[in-house]
Amino acid sequence: MGTTASQLSKESLSEYQELTFLTKQEILLAHKRFTELLEKHEKDQIDARVPMGKIITLPELKSNPFKERICRVFSTSEQKDGSLTFEDFLDLLSAFSDSATLEIKSHYAFRIFDFDDDGTLDCADLEKLVNCLTGETNDAKLSSTEMKQLISNILEESDIDKDGTVNLSEFQHVISRSPDFVSSFKIVL
């Protein structure tokens, strides 16, 4: 441990503890991991940004099909490039942590799935989502009729007000009944 090991002050640590679902150890670990991603000269800056390209190389995110979406959702960058500050990173970990509530998890899940950021899941979003879930390989892809069938089935189930899209409250309604969403929507460093 050197001087660069951790620069979190006690005060901000306790504040982060208060504001996230993470424990002290987890925050410290997150800070350590985050500073590893930073360039040398950035290590002293408080709101240094790590570009998305680096974040998604984290082993926890590497094989996640939504890794880029996750970065974009949690990024507060003005350029919309998906780069994360440490606080954004903590937000991410908090939302994916064990003790986060269903509400917050489903909120972020919705934003992750909302590929065009328009506040609803429409057919295009759902199609992209299916493609993400079935992987990149071509043979795994669903045919267009299958896709149509699938999306219409989904809308039939969860689009309660029948406006052709799934909005946040409908999404949360569906998710809240799912037995294993909370346990699977988790990332642990």
Binding site: P59, D161, R177
Partner: protein
């Protein structure tokens, strides 16, 4: 601690800086608040509070920035000025009342300032701890300070959230001063204002609590948090009065600590989990918790008191190994079978004495034994039913299948997956599940040869029934045979013949499910339904086996009781002969003392039952572990290493790696628990054994899953959230308590062993206690309460309540559907309305434009007439 110290040392410089700014900020904040409060008092409402806060924050920041630039003296001077300003603005309304207070606050403020100045004089880096007068070198000092601060922080949770300065003693002083001021001020507050303040504080607290559940960016959260915390801490300590305040602070501290502890504990509890099988381990952990409590009950209230305060080993016949068995009582083989010394110990029912009280505590041993037995069952019922109710709440109103596709879509990805291989597997399984679901959806609309499927299903059920009956008969046969062996004497038989019953049961439990699996392919059910059928069948198999076992045990109990009668008769004649002998030989001699090991005794059927259960558990555990080692580990090793020199691909082909069978394992666990419930009355050691077993299997299975299993293709969730398993558990609980209760109520206990010996029935211990330990009116009341005239109406009432609740829930469900429909309708209507409104707006717009153009046309020269005309026509066309 040491690392923290290091960090502190490393960070000290930064902190110094921060702390300085922070302190000024804080003092400023305090002043700001004073001002705010004064303002509020003036207005008497909370109306513009939010605005004020925002203002306050921005002002605060600005000021602190400015302040940093200026020199210290100036700052303090300005502070004084500001203070006065604040007082001036604040004091307009109630000046007379406040004059005294202002004086006081001013004085304190000055004191504070003086302190600051003192510190400044001491040098820039030496803040705080001036009162302690430490004369150490800088570096060391900071380290010490850091540590001291940490200690302080633990003591003063309040300080932790609020202060960041490396001050120790000063901190306290500040706080006290603040509080004093608050008190002074609060005394002049009217009760309504106090109420309002309280409300505001509560609101802030709630905000802080819920802050982490808000999907905001961290910056926003931070700002809000700081603001609200300052507000809360300013006022909440002050709201209490005098001593109450300290108590309050203490309470706050304790609740905070308690919450932190709970959070840590939660984190600890969810230690390792592998995703697809996590549900099994969650269930295992849940069971472990229950068993811990059962173990605590039996261990703390039955085993320990008897071992410590009861009469020691060898003092009476029931606590001594009989003479005939003494030679082999310490052999491992005997101990492994829970005979010998193990049999005559606190582990089993027979060891307990029937003396009413034990030890200097006058502990009611038999009563305790009985109540623990009842309590175990009652507690288990309570937990299971409560969990079920909670799950029912969580899963909402019934219909599990309604979001099949959406769940597949939205919740199937597992974010914990961290390596590419697993991710690929997951992609593939998700794709197939999508395809399957689509296919099913298509198939559900057309039906194929229904007669054939029906026939096959009937056939499959017939085959399963045959299996069940066969296995039942096999067990019955084996148990009867083992009784014959037992009569012959176990020593004359081989190991297999001695352990036949347990082995056969374990083997049946292993192979029958496979058979069922094969049979179920005939039926062509939907996988989920098929799995439920499969589980139901295995359940029936286990249950059948267990009950045949119990019936056989009942036979044995009856045999033992016959034996007991003979022994009892023999004992009386033996005692008589002994007595006669002594009388005839020497009438004055003291009564002959016979070593307790030599006293003839009856066969203690309760201990026998307990032993059977313990053996069953042990052999079951062993089979589980051995199958784990051979079936999973050895197979995995062979597959991996033989794969290099084999003619076909072992990993992808026939043997491959084993899957972790979540549902089967959960069922095993449930049955294991059933046996515990059934046997724990006669063998108090069972919960302890089970705790050990669960603990070991948690880690062993965890290891096996990690290193030699592949995730299951189809996953059936088994955590506490699944009421299917909970229902099974409840059924098992009921069915396993049934025989235990039957034996307790209907069979008289053995005459010479156990805590209830000499009584006609085991529950007589209650009567006895009622009569001798309670005042007579109590037993009278009890007898009235237990009379059928009261009990029957009570039961009737309960049934009515259940009926009422059922019907209300039904109506709620209907209302739910109704509301859904309404929502849909409303939405459609809204859409229509919106469309109409949009149309109208468009028309208005067109009209306006037309009139504008007309005006323009009138004004303009005739050259443009043509153009506008064409435009107009265009618009008309568009329209």
């Amino acid at each position: 601690m040491s690392t923290a110290g290091e960090q502190d040392a490393g960070l000290s410089l930064q902190e110094e800086h921060e702390s300085k700014t922070h302190r000024t900020k804080r003092r400023d904040g305090d002043r700001q608040k004073k001002k705010r409060r004064n303002e509020r008092r003036k207005g008497g409402t909370r109306a513009g509070e939010g605005e004020e806060d925002l203002q306050a924050v921005s002002e605060k920041r600005e000021r602190s920035k400015r302040k940093r630039a200026k020199s210290k003296q100036e700052t303090s001077r300005r502070e004084n000025n500001e203070e006065e300003e604040a007082q001036l603005t604040g004091g307009k309304g109630t000046k007379a009342r406040k004059d005294i207070r202002n004086e006081k606050t001013r004085r304190m403020e000055k004191e504070e300032v003086r302190e600051v100045e003192e510190n400044v004089d001491k040098g820039k880096k030496k803040q705080g701890s001036t009162k302690k007068g430490e004369k150490k070198e800088d570096g060391g000092k900071q380290l010490v300070k850091g540590k001291a601060r940490e200690v302080k922080k633990k003591k003063h949770k309040k300080a932790e959230t609020r202060y960041s300065e490396p001050e120790t003693s000063e901190e306290d002083d500040d706080e006290e001063e603040d509080n004093d001021k608050d008190v002074v001020r609060l005394e002049c507050l009217s009760p309504e204002e106090l109420e309002k303040l309280k409300e505001a504080v509560d609101e802030r607290k709630k905000l802080i609590q819920s802050l982490r559940g808000k999907p905001w960016a961290m910056k926003k959260k931070l700002v809000t948090l700081r603001e609200s915390q300052e507000f809360v801490e300013k006022y909440e300590g002050a709201l209490g009065k005098g001593k109450g305040r300290k108590l309050y602070a203490y309470k706050v501290l304790m609740t905070k600590k308690w919450m932190k502890f709970q959070r840590d504990f939660e984190n600890f509890k969810t230690g390792c989990s592998i995703v697809t099988v996590a549900s099994y381990f969650l269930f295992l952990r849940w069971m472990y918790g229950i068993n811990m409590i059962l173990f605590g009950l039996t261990f703390g209230l039955v085993m320990v008191p008897e071992a410590l305060m009861g009469r020691p080993y060898g003092s009476m016949p029931r606590k001594t190994v009989p003479r005939a068995e003494e030679a082999s009582a310490m052999d491992f083989a005997v101990l492994w079978d829970f005979g010998g010394y193990a049999q005559y110990s606190v582990l089993f029912y027979g060891y307990y004495n029937n003396q009413r009280t034990v030890g200097w505590l006058k502990f009611r041993m038999p009563l305790s034994y009985f109540l623990v037995g009842v309590g175990t069952v009652a507690y288990s019922y309570m937990v299971v039913i409560r969990t079920m109710a909670r799950n029912a709440n969580e899963s909402g109103v019934g219909d599990d299948n309604s979001f099949n596709f959406s769940w597949k879509m939205f919740t199937s990805w597992d974010y914990l997956i961290g390596n590419a291989e697993t991710a690929d597997n997951k992609f593939a399984s998700i794709t197939t599940s999508f395809k399957e679901a689509i296919l099913e959806e298509q198939e559900s609309h057309k039906d194929d040869n229904i007669h054939l499927t029906r026939f096959l299903r009937v056939l499959a059920n017939f085959l399963v029934l045959c299996c069940l009956a066969g296995s039942g008969y096999l067990i019955y046969f084996v148990v009867r045979r083992s009784q014959k062996f037992a009569l012959d004497g176990l020593e004359n038989h081989t190991w297999w013949e001695r352990n036949e019953v347990n082995m056969v049961m374990s083997l049946l439990g292993m192979f029958c499910p496979m058979l069922f699996d094969v049979i179920s392919t005939l039926e062509n059910y939907h996988p989920r339904v098929a799995l439920q059928w499969q589980l139901g069948r295995i359940f029936a198999l286990f249950l059948g086996n267990l009950y045949t076992f119990i019936i056989a045990l009942m036979d044995e109990i009856n045999l033992k009781r016959k034996e007991e009668k003979i022994v009892k008769f023999n004992i009386t004649t033996w005692e008589a002969s002994l007595y006669n002998g002594t009388v005839s030989e020497n009438s004055t001699a003291s009564p002959v003392t016979i070593h307790p090991a030599d006293v003839p005794r009856g066969p203690c059927w309760e201990t026998m039952v307990g032993q059977e259960f313990v053996r069953l558990i042990i052999s079951d555990t062993m089979t589980t572990y051995i199958t784990l080692l051979i079936g999973d580990f050895l197979r995995a090793v062979l597959v991996r290493f033989l794969n290099y020199c084999w003619c076909w691909d072992l990993e992808a082909g026939f043997p491959s790696y084993s899957e972790f069978d979540v549902s089967g394992n959960v069922l095993g666990l449930i049955f294991n628990q059933g046996m515990i419930w059934m046997g724990s009355f006669y063998a108090p050691c069972l919960p302890a054994l089970n705790v050990i077993r669960l603990h070991v299997s948690m880690y062993l299975q965890c290891w096996a899953v990690m290193c030699c299993n592949v995730p299951q293709e189809r996953v059936f969730k088994a955590s506490g959230s699944n009421n299917f398993y909970m229902a099974m558990l409840l059924v098992i609980l009921f069915l396993s308590t049934l025989p235990a209760i039957y034996t307790i109520v209907s069979i008289p206990p053995s005459f010479d062993c156990g805590p209830f010996s000499g009584k006609n029935r085991m529950f007589d211990v209650i009567h006895e206690t009622l009569e001798s330990d309670f005042p007579p009116w109590f037993s009278k009341v009890f007898s009235y309460a237990s009379n059928p005239g009261l009990v029957l109406p009570f039961i009737l009432l309960m049934v009515l309540a259940i009926y009422y609740l059922q019907s209300t829930s039904k109506s709620y469900r209907e209302a739910n559907v109704e509301l859904k429909k309404k929502l849909q309708m409303q939405n459609e209507e809204n859409k229509r309305k919106n469309k109409r409104a949009a149309l109208k707006a468009q028309m208005d717009l067109e009209e306006a434009r037309m009139t504008a153009q007309e005006q323009q046309r009138n004004n303009n020269a005739s050259v443009q007439d043509q153009e506008s005309g064409s435009l107009n026509s265009n618009i008309n066309k568009e329209y």
